[in-house]
């Protein structure tokens, strides 16, 4: 696979729903070995990591109820909340278009959704539907790039 081909499958994977790395693995697997390649690539990426995740979760479960674990969780909870907010900022950074005017519009739209979701209580499905509609009508004038994101 050439660097250009990789760049293209990366850009296409960013358009997929769900975990983009799964889409990337699937697209690379298909190029390499058809549908068998898709299954092999996705299973290779997900199954060992999922097994490790389950093992870690089960291991934590053994000590989860202890006072020490409860105290640690009181610090981990705000950290995960902060990580979630940072993920939102990274998502906007990765998705915003180039150019001052476009960036200003994009950030304003994103802030509008922050207000709608955090302060007006707009339900998730309604927000996503509105985002899709507004985006398809008004936010498409620049193609997404293959810039790497840390959103995963």
């Amino acid at each position: 696979m050439s660097a250009r081909e990789f760049g293209e499958v990366w850009a296409l994977s960013q358009l997929s729903p769900g975990i983009h790395l799964v889409a990337l693995a699937g697209l690379i697997g298909r190029r390499a070995a058809g549908w068998r390649g898709v299954v092999a690539a996705v299973a290779g990426m997900m199954v060992p990591a999922a097994a490790i995740t389950v093992a870690l979760t089960a291991a934590y479960g053994v000590i989860a109820a202890s006072p020490i674990a409860r105290a640690a969780l009181a610090g981990v909870a705000p950290v995960t909340g902060g990580m979630t907010i940072a993920t939102a900022a990274l998502l906007v950074r990765a998705s915003a278009r180039h150019g001052r005017a476009h960036v200003a519009i994009d950030v304003a739209v994103a802030l509008g959704f922050v207000v709608a979701a955090a302060f007006l209580g707009v339900p998730a499905l309604a927000a996503i539907g509105a985002g899709a509609l507004i985006g398809a009508i008004a936010l498409g004038r620049e193609r997404p790039t293959s810039r790497e994101t840390s959103v995963g």
Binding site: A11, L12, L15, S16, P17, G18, I19, H20, L21, A23, L27, R30, V42, M45, M46, V47, P48, A50, I52, T53, V54, L56, T57, P67, A72, L73, G75, A77, P78, V79, T80, G81, G82, T84, I85, T87, A88, L91, V92, A94, S95, V109, V114, V115, A117, P123, A124, L125, I128, G131, I134, A136, A138, L139, G140, R141, E142, R143, V151, G152
Partner: protein, 170 residues
Amino acid sequence: MDALALFGVFLKASALSLGGLSSLPLLRADLVAPGIATDDQVVQAIAIGRISTGPNGLYIVSLGYLVGGLVGATVALLAASLPPLVIVPITALARRWLLTTSVAGLVRGVAFATAGLLVATGIGIITATGNPSLWQLALAAIATVLTYRGTLHPAIVIAIGAATGLAFGR
């Protein structure tokens, strides 16, 4: 909650999200609000997902395990793995359509909506106890900055949170 219903919840969250953690708002709405999972379990799953190997989105496997044991983890893994793969046949059939400005705009709009939902969810997690302490708010702010800058491994950021919790949380 039976396995099929759990699969449906995870599949919906995965199919309507864009990237790793962005399924969280839908999952929190469908699992925490009805009392199937707790915010503590969500926090554990996110933290373990960040510490573990693989994509960030695998936190849902941890959440699946916490809610439904090995069966829950398995349905979560399937639900996380299937929706992204719709891109494979669509790319084969309609690659040009995928690269149109309308599709780019649609994905961008969903990303901005998801960002708003993630901020709301983050605030929800931070304030889940009802009355977060000053040190907890400071930790949340520090974690936000460190994660955005991306210079420290997430496991270290989580360890900082755990250590601060042990110091102040008892």
